[in-house]
Structures are given as structure tokens and as C-alpha cells.
Amino acid sequence: MMKNMDNKRIITALLSVVVISALIYLVQRLVAPKYADDIVEGGMVSEYYDEKDKDFDVIFIGDCEVYENFSPVTLWENYGINSYIRGSAEQYIFQSYYMLEDTLRYDKPKVVVFNIQSLQFDESRSEAYNRMTIDGMKWSKAKLGCINASMTDEEHLIEYIFPILRFHSRWNELTPADVEYMFRRKRVTHNGYYMRVDALPAGDMPPVKPLGDYSFGDRAWEYLDKIRTCCEDNDIELLLIKAPSLYPYWYPEWDEQVRDYADMYGLKYINFLDETDVIGIDYNTDTYDGGLHMNLSGAEKCADYIGSVLTGEYGVPDRRGDKALSAIWQGKITAYNDEISLQKEQYGIE
Amino acid sequence: MEELMEILKSLHPDVDFDKEEHLIDDKILDSMDIVRLVTELTDKFDIKIKAKDIIPENFNSAKAIGALIDRINEE
């Protein structure tokens, strides 16, 4: 009799815990931002995990200068390069490092392409960008490291463990999309590439402000070192690039430091701003926001250019002969083309 | 004791002080009543009631108050 009572109590207690946990989980899923229709940049990081075959030969890491400026579909179509962009909005250099660590949990690429624009930031400047990069990551040592490296003063680790503590106040701005995407993701990129087909010619850029000090911060260098050694340890080639964005301004003094670094460690560094003629970038037609980021046409040109480098200098294999992989890509190409026509319609381009 | 009852009655004519045993705990006497009571007792009985004596146990019933007066007189 006594035993029965005890058992009943334990079962009730367990059941209660399960119900409460389930409710909290549901509410948490509901209030967490979905990044489906509005700020799609927040949905990029998690999309990677949905890839069935993560056997990529080239991984891009970095901020908007990678995910808006290179089209993996072009790399596949023109060179048979199987690539993925693990980019996110304002991805800081320490976040790029942990993004690389996270990626290595699934796949060892031949080449990692890193856009060095984020060298200019030593610390996170915005909590919102931290969340957009980190929330999508799956739990691992890499994510924990990324959180600790990124948190601003106002943030707490527990808010990453239980996002409900961060996003609870969204209850009054919930939309149907929050219900629709509670348990599934909406595809927002093409292998990490964020597509835009419209064009806005580059006009006058804000005047260039001279800086007091052009040297990059110690912490930024530390993490570039970490990225480099991580690649060395895993036999991965590291390719440093600067994407052809006209703004924010890329100072020659900065460029020089990166060049020196690349020379010191025998790395290749491509500044796309110097190659615009070779690539054939036309800032009247190849950018959608006046020179900050490439549109589809620009991204395909950049991809074509970097594809020749990857094939020619790094020997990245052409895998178009791989039937299973080709089939996957076929699906991606269809989705890619569908979105092109959709966006053209949306922006009124024939 | 009779004098004490008279003083108490004058404070709260509607209370039966013979029976009440929780004058303080039931908030029948508030702090103002207590002070009035103390000053009157001081006057009538010529005793000195100190602040340390003003604790609920000493004022919860007419009997307790009477006992307090006796104790002070003895000292």
C-alpha cells in the first residue's frame, strides 16, 4: 500500500515535470524569432544542418561579404565545385572561427575561404547580430565557445540556453509565421547564398574618414591565427579574400596588413576590389544596394572568378561525375531558378 | 482592580474586559490606547511602567495588566 502511494507520487511528479518542460519548450519555440520572412539573415546558420550530404570541398566563412557575393550554384555549374557558405550577418572573426569549428564536426573541406573584412572588429558590437549568428548553431563545444567569445555586457549565457528568457517579450508581436515555422525552417538561401536579382547602381560613397590608428586589434589577430592553425591542423587550405564591396571603405593600410600576414604564412589573399576589371564587375548593374553588396549577376561573376582560382590553384575537384551529388545539385538548381523567376516578377524585371 | 477596569472601560466602553484575553493580539487595544492606559495607570497607581514592560504578554488581558501593576509595586 505504502509502496503504491510512493509510486503514484513519483509518477505524478515526473509527469508534472514533463508537462511543464513541454509547455516551456512550446512557448519558447513560439516566441523565438523565425527569421522566415523579415530578417532572413538570422535563418542562415541553421540551414546548414539540413543538408543531407555535408561533404563539401569548399566552405566560405564570414559576414555578408561572403553570403551575398558568391553563388555556389555557379561554382557547381561552371566548375563542379561542391561548396557551402557558412555566413551570417555581421559575423565577427571569433564567430567565424567557431563557425569553422562547428563545420568541422560534420565535414573536412579542402579549402576554407575567409573574408577578412571582420578583422576590423575586436568585439561584438550588437547583441542582435550575436543572436542571429549563434541561435542557429547546434549545441556543441563550438557554440558554447562562440557564445562566450561574443557576449556583450548585457548578455547572459542562460539566455542562449533558454532563448525564452531573451525573446519572451516578443509575445505581442507574434505573426502567423511564428506558428507556421515553429517546428520547421523556411529555406532562405542557396547553400548559404542570399539571392537578390534587383539592381541599384553605385553612386557617390560617403567621404572616407581618415582613422587615427589603422592597426587591427589583438583579439582579431588572435582569432585569425586560430583560424589559420585550425586549417593547418586539419590539412585545409586557407584562402583569404576581400569581397568587392565599395562600402564600408577598405583602407589601403588595412589591406597592407592582411597582405603582410598572408605573405608571412604563405597564404593566398585576393582583394576583389583590385580585380573588378578582370572579373568584369559593373557597379551599375551588378549590385542591388549601390555598391555595398553584389546582386545575382555580380555574385555569379565573383563565383566564376573564384571558381577558376579554386580549380586552378587549389585543385578542387570537379564532382559533376558523382551521380548522387549531381542529383542533389539538380534539385538546388531548380530551386535557384525558381527563385530567380519569382524575384524577377517581384521586382518587375523581365 | 476596580480602578483598572474603570480606566479600561473609559477607553473602550463596548469591550468586555473581564473576558477578553487577547486585547493586543486581536488588536482591540492599539498603541494609542496603550499609551493612554499607561499614563493613567501611572497617575492613579503612582507606579512607573517602563517601555520594556510594554509587551503583548503584559497587556493581553485585564488580569495580565493587574499582575503587571502588582509586580511593579513589589519591586
Partner: protein, 531 residues
Amino acid sequence: MLFTSYGFIGSVLILFVLYYTIPKRLRPALLLIFSLIIYGMADVRYLIYIGISVVTVWYAALGIEKNNKTIKDYIKQHKTEMSATERKAYKKLKGRKSLLFFLAGLFINLGILAVVKYSGFVVSGIWHILSSGTDGVPKIPDMLVPLGISFYTFQSLGYLIDVYRENIDAEHSLPRYALFITFFPQLVQGPINRYEDLAPTLLTPHDADFNVISRGLQRILWGYFKKLVIADRLLMGVTTLIGDTSLYRGGYVLVMMLFYTLELYADFTGGIDITIGIAETLGISMKENFIRPYLSTSLADYWRRWHISMCSWFRDYVFYPVSTSNASIRLSKWARKHISDSAGGKLPVYLSSFVVWACTGIWHGASLNFLVWGLLNFLVLTISEELSPLYDRFHKRFLFSESFPYHVFMILRTFVLICVLNLFDCFTDVRDTLGLLGSIFTRGSFSSMEKGALLGIGLGVSDYVIAVIALIAVLTVSIIEEKYDSSIRDMIRRRPYVFRFAIWTCLFLATIIFGVYGIGYDSSQFIYNRF
């Protein structure tokens, strides 16, 4: 150290687990260590202040007790040889040593409190009296004001006075006494606990059964609900309104008073719920500090229900000593002779009330407005006391005064009065407060409030909806508890499990979802924690 910081909540969780895994006899030690760590984490220098207070009062109390014992032993031994007058004389002579210990403890602790909290106030006050201008008031360097210094100083002094009065025995063990003063939940915003109330459960190892623990957890949850969902939400509006008194006048002042009064309630009673709740989960029982204060029918009633530990402190350690002092007894006698019997009874009461309310005002803050606030309370209380015969006649004559609507009217009337009095908390300059109150009655005072004006003070429509629903919930609970004179938690406990579970789960989720906390809301400092 804030109740709402993740650090605090996390630390308490760890404490809770440790507390129930270690042997019972070690629990008080754990509490002391934990309390010192958590208090020291707010600022290590705080520990020096509280340390001085603990050691001096502990030592003084021991000295008093030892000396008193020597006196008693001597008298006992020489009972037959001494006459009553000799005994008295001996007591008086030797009692001086006790008095010395007592006064030393009193002045050291009041002195520290006075210096850290009131030196600026005193210096600028003297300056204002001596010079005509307001310019060039000498600046006193900002002092470190230890968290909860007013609370723990008063708690220590209450203990010291009780020992001196021989109402309680002194605590011999320094660690045990230290725990009584530093027990962490009470350091944030009180209550001012009495040794005889707290010591039995705090200092002696004991078991806590499941029901007590879950009651404690429920109370903590209720406290967080009041604090996060209501107080911190209204605070956004209060901050805006108080921040710009040139803009927010007239009708806005009504909103300001209402919001501030509700916010103060939710913040302070919520904080006390958390304090008492934490103690309860550790099996420690603390006295109530509030009994549904906003359901009071008069200001006197209110002060028996609001911040009880402070009020009873002033009653026992200021009001009674002053009113039964030789001076006030003489005054009473004189008044009986020269004015009237009733004046003889009332004069000491009013005189000591005046002293108490001046002290209570100053206790709340080192500025003139708090003094004015205290004296206004005194004025209202005295006037209504003087008018009470009139009320009684009125009540006897008109029977409707027994009716329910009249009861509600009295509650509302008292609430409005409290709202007005509370406004004096908000502004250091009393002229500002009076100006704002006056602005309500000026012509066109409401025309400045356009349609939607309430949405311009930092709260959105959804905030108002949540605040109103939450306040209705709190009011309903208060009315139920008032009616049945029992805790709502005990009433819920008698219901079936599913019902209970649903209630507490909903409250938990509501607090998590609708609470104002986290990024974007960093203004959640307890208003009461430096008092």
C-alpha cells in the same frame, strides 16, 4: 544583489540543493557562509560595515547580559542583608555598566548609519540655515552606502534594546548572531526581523517538509509575478512621468500618483514575498510584513498593514519609550490638571507620534521631502483621531455606514490619500510636489492630455492590458484572502492536484512570458533596496 538577476536566482538554486544534501546540523553554517558571499559579491566593502555592526552589537549584548547576571547573583546571595531600597540603589549603581554597553552599541551603529546616509543631508541643512542662498553648498564626498544598511542597523538595534530590557537572552555565539543579521534574503529590502521571531527556525537545525517547501516556492513565484509583470512594467511609465515634470502636469499627475502607488505596492510586497518565500523553502519562518495594505479603511489602518516590521519597530523602540518617559508623564499630569483629563491622555500620544513620524520620514531617505511626508502622515492621523468622536456619532446616526458600498468608499478614500502622500516620495523638492498637486486643479489641466496620451509614456496597449489583468488578479487574491482570512496558497492546496498544477503552471508561464526583464529592460532596480 537583485532578486531578479540570473546570478541571484542561480545562487539560491545551488544553495537550496546544498542545503538539503548536507547534514542538518551544518545548515546554519552554510547559510551564514552563503549570506556573506552573496552580500560580499555586491561589494566586498559592505562586509566591513556589516561586520562592525555585527561584532559591536553582539559584544555589547553579551556585556549587558553578563553585568546584569552579576547584579542578580549578588542580590540573590545577599538577599537577607539588603533592604529594598538598598537593592534598588545597588541595581542602579551597577546597572550603569549595562547602560554603558548599551549606549556604546547604540551610538556606534546609529553613528555609522548617520555618517553614511545622512551627513550630506545634515551639512546642506545647516548650510541652508546659516546662509541665505542655495549656491555653494559644500559637497560631501559620496559615501558608500551598504545595501540594506537601514534594515540591518535597525534589526541590530532592536536586538540590543531587547537584550538591554531583558526581554530576550543575548545570543552567545558570534556566528549564530551574525547569521541572524546577515541572513541574505532580508538584506535586500527587509523586513526588520526580531530575534525572538526569527531565531527559533533560523538558528536551530530542523526539518522542512515537502508542503512547507512547496508553499515557499509558490510564494516566491507570486512575488516574481508581482515584481516582474506589474511593478517593472509600471515603472517604465513612472520613470517617464517623473522624469519630466514640466511636461507631465495636470491630469498626468493623477496617472503618476496611481502608477507609482501601484508600482510601489507590487515591487515592495513582491520583494517581501520572495524574501519570505526563500526563507520558507529553507524551513525558516519569518513574520509577515504586509496584510493587504491597500484594502485599509483608514490611514491608521493602513499603517497597521503596511511595512509592519518597520512600524512595529518604531512603535516598540521609539513610540513607547518616548510616550512613557518621565518628561511625557509629567506633561500628561500637568495637562490633566490644567487642561482636561482627555488632554492628559492624548498629549503624550501626539507628542511621541510626532517624534515617530519625523523619524520614519528620515528613515526613508535623507532629504526634506521624506520629513514632510512623515509629518503629513502625522497630521492626517492626528486630525482623524481628533475627529473620531464625530465619526462615531455619524456612524451611529447613519446606518448605511455599515453597508458594503460605504466600506468600499472608505477603502477608496484611503487609497487616494495614500496616492497623494506617496507623491512626496518622488521629488526631493517639496515645492515640485506641491506644484504638481496644484496643477491638477488648475483650469484646463486635462486639456494637455490628448487622446492616446497614455501611450506616450513608455507603455504600449499590450502593456496596459497585461498590467490591468495582473492587477485584477492581485486584487482578487487580496479580496479572497481578506474575506477568508487565510492564505490563498492554503486554499488552493485543498483542491485536486490537476487544478493546483494548472494554477501554478499558468502563473509560472505568465511570469516568464509577460514579465518585464532581460535585454531592453534594464531599469529593474528595486526602489526600496537602499532604504
